[in-house]
């Protein structure tokens, strides 16, 4: 083989090796970003095991196929009473399952709380009638059944907290502020992240709402009809009368009804749930003298994915409020 040919071969092998190393290192970067969570976050996501307690799965609370809940009972069943934490799953009101939050529920159970994850009828092709309103009413029907099941297992519940992520956070807030006064036990705390709590068209510009055009009003009527489960027309969007129809699902408008301690986090650049809507929640919390913490993740969207330091403070605040308002005896 001539010297030139040898040099060419060496160059081809070197470039090929460089490309291979680039691809492998790129893949390692992707995996490290997706799979490795910050060290502080591991404390709040616990792998469920029988060492933590007893898990009762798929207990029914209604006739619907989705009307099921999981109950996590702590190992120590000898106490006089327990706090209950209900954690509702995310999924845009159209997907998700209570099993998605197993690590969070396991963390709560490990702390000594009775914890529950509740499924609700999702808006799908099989259930086009489902709405945020119907889902919130299902949660309202489920809570007494959750408490009954805990009591039947020998765990007396004396207070509770409502929590969730995204859609689940919206439903948790609706229950806490709108229905909390009718709960079988006092609802003493609510927490969560990125849940829509207000439905004012002007705030929902990320979906093209709030503009003075027929197209925008039609989009608003469509979106808010689906969410509220009530027929809303573009004319009602224009004259503002739609606000009465979305009132039942607008948690921020119910804070005064049951102004309980609250810890929430929102991404300032959220493309799924408008950040502007969360400002109305903060305003309501402030106006009603609520003991609250409202965290804004300035560089993040719906996944709260770019502000680990603030997320850490948010979780620490949740821990602090749980200890303050629902201490484990």
């Amino acid at each position: 083989m001539s010297k030139t040919k040898k040099e060419k071969k060496v160059r081809v092998v070197s470039v090929g090796l460089g490309i291979l190393i680039f691809v492998l290192a790129f893949g390692a970067g992707v995996v490290s970003k997706v799979a490795i969570k910050p060290a502080w976050a591991q404390k709040y996501a616990v792998t469920w095991s029988d060492e933590l307690g007893t898990l009762k799965s798929d207990l029914p609370y209604g006739e619907g196929e989705a009307n099921r809940f999981d109950l996590y009972l702590p190992k120590d069943g000898t106490k006089d009473s327990y706090g209950l934490v209900v954690y509702l799953h995310a999924g845009g009101f159209t997907s998700g399952d209570k099993a998605d939050d197993r690590s969070t529920l396991a963390w709560l159970c490990g702390k000594g709380y009775v914890a529950a994850g509740i499924n609700y009828t999702l808006r799908t092709e099989e259930h086009p009638e489902a709405s945020v309103l119907s889902q919130s009413n299902e949660i309202k029907a489920a809570v007494p059944k959750v408490i009954e099941a805990a009591e039947a297992a020998g765990y007396h519940i004396d207070k509770m907290a409502m929590a969730g992520g995204s859609a689940g956070h919206a439903l948790a807030m609706i229950y806490a502020y709108r229905d909390g006064k009718d709960a079988p036990v006092p609802v003493v705390f609510t927490y969560g992240a990125v849940g829509p709590s207000s439905f004012v068209a002007e705030d929902w510009g990320i979906f093209g709402l709030g503009q003075d055009t027929e197209e925008s009003r039609q989009a608003g009527a469509g979106l808010f009809s689906v969410m509220s489960g009530k027929e809303i027309t573009p004319e009602e969007i224009k004259d503002g009368s739609y606000r009465e129809k979305v009132h039942e699902i607008a948690a921020a408008e119910w804070v005064e009804n049951n102004p309980i301690p609250t810890v929430v986090a929102y991404g300032a650049l959220d493309k799924v749930q408008p950040f502007l809507a969360s400002l109305r929640l903060e305003e309501a919390l402030k106006e009603n003298g609520v003991d609250y913490k409202y965290f804004v993740l300035e560089h993040s969207g719906h996944g709260l994915q770019n502000d680990s330091a603030v997320s850490k403070l948010w979780m620490e605040a949740i821990d602090e409020y749980l200890a303050k308002y629902m201490p484990v005896k």
């Binding site: 460089g18 680039f22 790129f26 970067g29 799924v272 560089h299 996944g303």
Partner: protein, 44 residues
């Protein structure tokens, strides 16, 4: 500097750059879907 040492340095640079780009690609993808920025917040 020997040719082997140069190659090791080049490979190390490629690895670091590719690793960083991999993490940035995930962040960019998530920002596109969920909202967010590449600038500020968490390192990478």
């Amino acid at each position: 500097m020997s040719i082997t040492a140069k190659r090791i340095i080049i490979i190390a640079i490629i690895m670091v750059v590719a690793f960083v780009l991999g993490r940035l690609a995930v962040r960019a993808g998530m920002n596109l879907l969920l909202g967010g920025t590449l600038f500020g917040g968490d390192f990478l």
